[in-house]
Symmetry: C3
């Protein structure tokens, strides 16, 4: 059984390694895969997006642990969301919600049973003291019901909607990857209503007029648009950083018209 | 059997991967866990602290390899420290000493038997040529005595002491994590002698007047103090970097008074 | 069977983790080792060098996957190079060629059989859709011939030659590691023709007059030269970054004379 880890811990400190030590102490046979530890500090939305974009590529019953947890030590609950496809474990601050959004979960557990926590539970590192041990016990086959009481709802992040207007659609930048590629919230299906040959994509004064089929299509250092590997519209510059060149930020508006101009 | 790796190699180069290749060539079944490869270059004290803070969370008999090794290629010895709890392998420059400090080791071996080294041993990469192979052979069950002669002592780092005065206690910043949280050498027990309700923590002109129970208690962007997950007093700023805001450095003095003021 | 991964994906995003998810879905028992994900973006030569320097330290039959792939989505072929020693998988842009250079491969396959690809294959992430699944199927024992047709040649990178002159030899900086050490293309054998006691190494106005046997030999913060762990001449500064101090870049000329001066 695979356990994935996604955190905002970065790569300087041993915090992720410590979580793996805790897991190995409970289930020496658990297989742990790092999704990313480069989520920007306390950026719950980015963590939620990383998780959502990653889970389709893992086998059924994978256990996904996310620790982007600015509220650690407060009343925010530690939760487990079980679906037919997988298990999501983390703080109830919305970071699991984009991954869980498609369906109502089979089971939603508040991880309140301290029998399965490391003791004492610290005020600042529930990744080590709650989430890692729960994931490890779950990977041993413990029934999720043992971890705490069933609850009815969990915190959700509002995913920015793609707005359809008469002259086009409006979305926004939702994630910027390490190459500086700008991921939008506009999915390939959102573009179906538009005449592809007349597309005009606008972002921070930049205009892109077609959707390329590879990064290399932008050989003259122009901005290009592609449908990226998550099915979303992405703005990029071949062998360069669209972010650095445009100074774009998460939240910037992207407008797509299919007009005559 | 788990082998952990802690280095100052960073994440640009394949040096860590190469060590894993060497280990896999000797023991294909060894399980390798990365503790951190973000130890600042040649910072033996930071490496020692990372190791000390991490080993309590690993199962018994774990093999911990540390390569923070500015003296590679000189006369400094490669050593193995065996205790009832675990094995520590690395250069004899103090980097293992904080982890080993609590007890006299069961066995201390100078890794001088070249039978268990990769050949030729390079002048610059004993992680690959000595420490990784020794860890791999050890994980196969080879008796540590085979790796070289028993020696009597090893290099120790002087841990900065917490100084108790009449009006309070004096410590210092010993580590700064990737979030910019400032770890002090002051442990929770050091605070027992002080009246908690009158605490006054001073650092670089900053004053913090109480110990919070979560980062989120500092919602107004003030500095806060917490007892962190390693049981140490830590200065932090909620959703921000206390290091960036204060320009604090490792070695900066922290004074705690419990006076009237 | 070990699968290694080398990419320019960096450490912010979940792309590497996603590749591991795909591999685990096909072969749950594959062992994956990260070589480096810190190859500079789109730097095919650096990726090729990382691979060449790393593969000698892995067991026979290791599967090495490299994704430094600026041409993803274009006509550049995905290939597999099989030798007696190992398997190399990646884009046919030269990134595999330094590792494969020594011998003619046993088999060279264009990975054209979509049966073994994830579907649909995206325009931007063949690491996930082609290279990871091929590596996983190969680790299951599928015959490489099943992955596509045999082809005759693959793209090669021109390795900068060491030029021998009457008064010395001329090479260049080919890689700079995370410590700021400057790797040259000059191998230890290239130095055999020179009188070691009269060496004079010149780089950007810097002169180094001997080859040290450890970094620590340069205690006074001078530049030093060492034969590094890959058998190459390297310029370094003890406990410092030769790159930062000299502003040297990949491609800078290094001249070695053995003259009287």
């Amino acid at each position: 059984m695979i356990i994935t880890l996604t955190t905002d811990f970065g790569y300087k400190d041993p915090f992720v390694g410590i979580m793996k030590g805790v897991i190995a102490g409970i289930n020496p046979h658990a297989r742990v895969v790092d999704l990313s530890h480069g989520v920007p500090p306390q950026d719950v939305v980015a963590g939620a997006l990383v998780l959502r974009n990653s889970i389709p590529y893992f086998p059924p019953d994978t256990i996904h642990v996310v620790v982007v947890d600015p509220g650690v030590g407060t009343a925010r609950r530690p939760i487990l969301i079980q679906s037919r496809r997988n298990y999501l474990i983390g703080p109830d601050n919305g970071v699991l919600s984009l991954a869980a959004a498609d369906k109502s979960p089979d089971r939603l557990i508040h991880l309140s049973n301290s029998t399965y926590h490391r003791k004492p539970v610290s005020a600042t590192f529930h990744g080590r003291d709650i989430f890692a041990p729960i994931a490890a016990y779950l990977s041993l086959g413990i029934d999720p019901a043992a971890f705490g009481e069933t609850v009815e709802d969990y915190a959700r992040i509002t995913w920015p909607p793609v707005v359809k207007a008469e002259d086009g659609i409006k979305g926004e930048i939702v994630y910027i990857d390490g190459f500086g590629n700008l991921f939008t919230n506009i999915q390939v299906d959102d573009l179906n209503s538009l005449a592809k040959e007349k597309l005009r994509i606008s972002l921070r004064g930049i205009t892109v007029r077609r959707i390329a089929t590879s990064y290399a299509a932008g050989k003259n250092r122009d901005y290009i648009a592609v449908i990226n590997s998550f099915g979303a519209l992405e703005i990029a510059v071949y062998k360069n950083s669209a972010q650095r060149r445009s100074q774009a930020k998460v939240g910037d508006e992207v407008f797509i018209s299919a007009g005559e101009t």
